[in-house]
C-alpha cells in the first residue's frame, strides 16, 4: 500500500545534475577558446569511461542500470575530472582517473549518495600522485604565440604520444601559473617579478583567469537557481581571500594577492562545482560554513607551503573526511527545542 504524500513537486536528480552540467558550459567554452579543442577530447574520453564504468559496476552490483546512468551524476564526475587534468594529457590519464573515481570512490561505497569522498577529486588525487609528470604538463594558451598543432596532430599526440617532427613537448606545455609561482619563488624571485612573466595575465594566468571567470559565471547561475547552497562558495572564497590578503599585505614579495588565488588553479570551479557536491558536503548551514572555511584554509596552506601547486582537490577530500563529524556536531535546533544540547 502506498503511503502519503501522494503528490510531489516535479523535481528530479537528473534535472539537478543536468543543470550543473549546463553551468559548466561557459567555462568549457572559454577553455576551448583559449587553449584549443584538446580538452573536448579529454572530456569525451572521461565521460565515456565514466558511463561505462558506472554501467559495469551497476551490473556487478546487480542494480538497475538505466535509472542510474540517466541521472547524469557519473557524467558530471567524468567531466569534472577531465577539467582538472591537463587538456593535452595522454588518453589513458582521464580513463584511469575516471575509472578509479567511479569504481572505487563511488561504487564500492554503494554508488550515488553513499560515497563519503568526492569521486572526481579522488580521481584527480590518484592521478597527480601516480603520474605527476603527465599531470603537470599544462598546455600553454594559444594566444602566446607558440605554434599550434592541427586537430589531427593533437589527436595523434593524445592517443599515441607522437609529436610532429621537430616539435618539442616543452614548447607546447608549461607548468601552470600556480606551479610557476611556486618554483620561481623557491629560486628567489619575488611575486611581482614572477607575474611579469609572459604566461601571466592581469589577474592570474593568461587565459586561465578567463576560464576561471567562466566557471564563476556558471556558479552564479547555480547559486541563483538554488541548486547549490550559498554558504559553501562564500565561506571558501571568503577564507581564501582573507588569508591570502593578510599574507600578501604582510609580505607582498612572497605571497600572491587574493585575486590571483581566486582566479588561478581550481579555486572557482572548486568553490562552485566541487565543494558543493551535496553528497560529500555537510547538510547543515553551520556545517557548510565550517566546511568552506576549512577547505579555504587548507587550500591556502597547501598552495603556499605544500608540495602540490594547487590545494583545492586535497582540501576537498581532507574536508570530506570531516563531514560526518561536522554533521553530527552542528545539528541545528529543532522546532520546539531550546538549544540542541550537543549530541554526544
Amino acid at each position: 500500500m502506498l503511503s502519503s504524500p501522494f503528490i510531489a513537486r516535479p523535481l528530479s536528480v537528473d534535472r539537478i545534475m543536468r543543470r550543473v552540467l549546463y553551468a559548466l558550459l561557459p567555462g568549457i567554452a572559454l577553455y576551448v577558446w583559449y587553449f584549443g579543442p584538446a580538452i573536448l577530447v579529454s572530456i569525451a574520453l572521461a565521460a565515456t569511461t565514466a558511463l561505462a564504468t558506472e554501467a559495469l559496476m551497476l551490473k556487478l552490483r546487480d542494480r538497475p542500470v538505466r535509472p542510474f546512468l540517466s541521472d547524469y551524476s557519473a557524467l558530471l564526475t567524468g567531466v569534472l575530472i577531465a577539467l582538472s587534468i591537463p587538456p593535452f594529457a595522454p588518453w589513458w590519464l582521464p580513463v584511469v582517473g575516471t575509472a578509479f573515481a567511479i569504481a572505487v570512490a563511488k561504487h564500492l561505497y554503494g554508488g550515488l549518495g553513499s560515497n563519503p569522498f568526492n569521486p572526481a577529486m579522488i580521481g584527480y588525487a590518484v592521478l597527480i600522485i601516480s603520474f605527476p609528470q603527465e599531470m603537470t604538463q599544462w598546455i600553454s594558451p594559444q594566444g602566446m604565440g607558440h605554434s599550434v598543432l592541427s586537430y589531427g596532430e593533437q589527436l595523434r599526440y593524445v592517443f599515441s604520444g607522437v609529436l610532429p617532427a621537430g616539435m618539442q613537448l616543452d614548447a607546447l606545455t608549461m607548468s601552470t601559473p600556480l606551479d610557476t609561482l611556486k618554483t620561481q619563488l623557491q629560486l628567489g624571485m619575488t611575486v611581482s617579478d614572477i607575474r611579469d612573466l609572459p604566461i601571466y595575465g592581469r589577474l592570474a594566468g593568461k587565459g586561465s583567469e578567463m576560464v576561471a571567470a567562466g566557471f564563476a559565471l556558471g556558479g552564479l547561475y547555480l547559486l541563483i537557481a538554488r541548486i547549490i547552497p550559498w554558504q559553501l562558495p562564500v565561506a571558501f572564497l571568503g577564507t581564501l581571500f582573507a588569508l591570502s590578503g593578510v599574507f600578501h599585505l604582510i609580505d607582498p614579495a612572497h605571497y600572491a594577492p587574493p585575486l590571483f588565488h581566486w582566479f588561478s588553479g581550481a579555486a572557482m570551479i572548486g568553490a562552485f562545482f566541487i565543494l558543493t557536491d551535496p553528497i560529500t558536503s555537510p547538510t547543515t548551514a553551520k556545517g557548510r560554513i565550517l566546511f568552506g572555511i576549512g577547505a579555504g584554509v587548507l587550500t591556502f596552506v597547501i598552495r603556499a607551503y605544500g608540495g602540490f601547486p594547487d590545494g583545492v582537490a586535497f582540501a576537498t577530500i581532507l574536508m570530506n573526511m570531516c563531514v560526518p563529524l561536522i554533521d553530527v556536531w552542528t545539528q541545528p535546533r529543532i522546532f520546539g527545542k531550546k538549544k540542541k544540547e550537543s549530541k554526544r
Binding site: 503511503s3 542494480r63 538497475p64 538505466r66 535509472p67
Partner: protein
C-alpha cells in the same frame, strides 16, 4: 654486559614493584558489565542460549566465554545491540539458533488435568491455577519461552503465534521496486 644486566635488573625491579602494587590497589570485584548485558537480553529466561536463563548467559558473555549470537528470542536486533555494547562485529545466528515468530502459550483446559507441572516450569509465573484445577496462561505476562510445553503430561499446551491486529500493526519497510522507466 654487566652494566646491561644491572640496568635491566633495576628497571625490572622498579616496574615490577609498581605493577605488583597496582594489581592489589586496583583490584576489581564483580562484573558490572554483566548487568549491562543482562539489560539487553530479552528476559525470556528460556535457556535456548544454552545457559540457565538470561543472567547466566550475560555473565558468560561478560567473561568472554559465550558468543553474542546465541539468544534466539532477542532476534538479530538483540545481537546488534550486544555488538554495539561490546564494540564487536555483528554476527548472524548460527544454523541451530534461529529466532521463531513471537508466540504465547495456550492451555487447552478441556484436556488440562491440573497437574501444576507447567506452573513449576514457567520462569515468570505466567500460569495461574491450582492443583487439580484448570490452569490458565496470563497472556500479557507469558514470554513465549515454551518451557511449559514439555513438562505437560497430557500435551495440552500449545504455542499460538501472536497474530497481527490493528493495535499491534506495524508500518512495513518501504520497498519500491526500481522499475525500468523507459
Amino acid at each position: 654486559m654487566i652494566t646491561a644486566l644491572w640496568i635491566m635488573i633495576a628497571l625490572a625491579a622498579l616496574l615490577g614493584m609498581i605493577l605488583g602494587y597496582a594489581s592489589i590497589r586496583f583490584r576489581v570485584e564483580g562484573n558490572p558489565l554483566a548487568e549491562k548485558i543482562d539489560a539487553v537480553l530479552p528476559q525470556t529466561q528460556c535457556g535456548q542460549c544454552g545457559y540457565p536463563g538470561c543472567k547466566p548467559y550475560a555473565d558468560a558473555i561478560a567473561k568472554g566465554e559465550a558468543d553474542i549470537n546465541l539468544c534466539p528470542p532477542g532476534g538479530e536486533e538483540g545481537i546488534h545491540k550486544l555488538a554495539e555494547l561490546l564494540g564487536v562485529e555483528f554476527k548472524p545466528f548460527g544454523e541451530d539458533a534461529q529466532p521463531k515468530p513471537k508466540a504465547v502459550a495456550f492451555i487447552d483446559e478441556q484436556t488440562c488435568i491440573g497437574c501444576t507441572l507447567c506452573i513449576q516450569a514457567c520462569p515468570v509465573d505466567a500460569i495461574a491455577g491450582a492443583a487439580k484445577q484448570m490452569h490458565t496462561i496470563i497472556a500479557a505476562e507469558c514470554t513465549g519461552c515454551e518451557l511449559c510445553v514439555p513438562p505437560c503430561p497430557v500435551d495440552c499446551i500449545s504455542m499460538l503465534p501472536i497474530e497481527e491486529k490493528l493495535t499491534n500493526w506495524k508500518w512495513r519497510y518501504p520497498v519500491y521496486e526500481l522499475r525500468q522507466t523507459s
